[in-house]
């Protein structure tokens, strides 16, 4: 449910403020994936160490991962010119 909430909020924000394009040249796509992959797994393992155990924190952890993947990662891609913004 945490992922669903994070993704839902993230996709709404992404559609409103970012609107990135998943296309582009191959090296940009690879860099996007590498950057996103490192931070996603950093959050996945880092938050599991940093946050206490419990259902609420698990919810928070997956929510943040969903929010990162659907909103913050595309935002970073657009800001770093790794992805184009579509109107």
């Amino acid at each position: 449910m945490g992922t669903l909430l994070g993704m839902g909020v993230g996709l709404t924000l992404e559609g409103e403020f970012v609107r990135f394009s998943s296309g582009g040249v191959i090296w940009k796509r690879m860099l996007r994936f590498l950057l996103g992959f490192v931070i996603t797994f950093g959050l996945y393992f880092g938050l599991s160490e940093a946050l206490p155990t419990g259902l609420h924190f698990r919810f928070l952890r997956y929510g943040l991962i969903g929010l990162w993947g659907s909103f913050f990662a595309p935002l970073v891609f657009v800001k770093t010119k790794l992805a184009q913004q579509v109107s």
Partner: protein, 224 residues
């Protein structure tokens, strides 16, 4: 039920008698296909780098699949094999291979490849288990095939449905856009469909309806 559970354990123990390092690797790879980390790699890859819309839809489909899988486990509350028969199970676990019929089709001619492949993967996950086994082969089928039942439903065709089902599925609207939705019902009754998907405007739209034509159409709109 007891007989079924016992059969599953015996079958796993029999399968585990076959030994090969190669098959170990194969089944570890198959198991990874059901791992959370695999989806943390695959789904963002599709969403960020290949097809944004498809990636978003697949995420929702995956989440519904996971929820349906866990819900079925909660409903049936069958004991784990290690709880049911803690003395059984071996450290060797192998299977010779999985047979799939060539281009299987449902009664109305639709391909059943996706649910069968999902069943095979689920079953394979059930077969390669640690000592003692934690899953049963049948659980692999029902835990995977039903939640991942995914069919293409042309606008004027009748969908194949098992007698009782609860499953995420994909249909296509008139513009040939894929719409993942969640369907619950029986094969003979009107199914209730719930879909949760990002709309074109970036909103998340949740709508449910009961199809009045046996599921041949899928209306859009509803609760926003």
């Amino acid at each position: 039920m007891e007989a079924l559970l016992a059969w599953g354990i015996d079958f796993i123990v029999w399968i585990q008698a076959f030994s090969s390092p190669f098959l170990d690797g194969v089944f570890k790879a198959i198991t990874f296909l059901g791992d959370e980390k695999f989806y943390l790699i695959l789904l963002p890859l599709i969403f960020w780098c290949l097809n944004k819309g498809l990636g978003a839809k697949l995420v929702f489909l995956f989440l519904f699949s996971a929820y349906a899988n866990n819900s079925l486990k909660d409903i049936f509350r069958a004991p784990r094999p290690c709880q049911f028969a803690p003395d059984k199970g071996k450290s060797h676990r192998r299977v010779r291979g999985i047979w799939l019929p060539k281009r299987p089709r449902s009664r109305d001619g639709r391909r059943l490849g996706v649910p069968l492949l999902a069943s095979a993967q689920g079953m394979a996950m059930g077969l390669r288990n640690r000592h003692p086994p934690t899953r049963r082969p049948l659980e692999g089928i029902f835990g995977r095939a039903l939640p991942t039942r995914c069919h293409r439903r042309p606008h004027n065709s009748r969908a194949f449905r098992p007698p009782l089902h609860l499953a995420p599925a994909i249909c296509y609207d008139k513009d040939r856009r894929a719409i993942p939705y969640f369907e619950a019902g029986t094969g003979c009754s009107r199914p209730s469909c719930f879909s949760l998907h990002p709309s074109d405007q970036g909103y998340i739209r949740l709508h449910g309806h009961t199809s009045r034509d046996g599921g041949r159409s899928h209306t859009r709109g509803g609760i926003r």
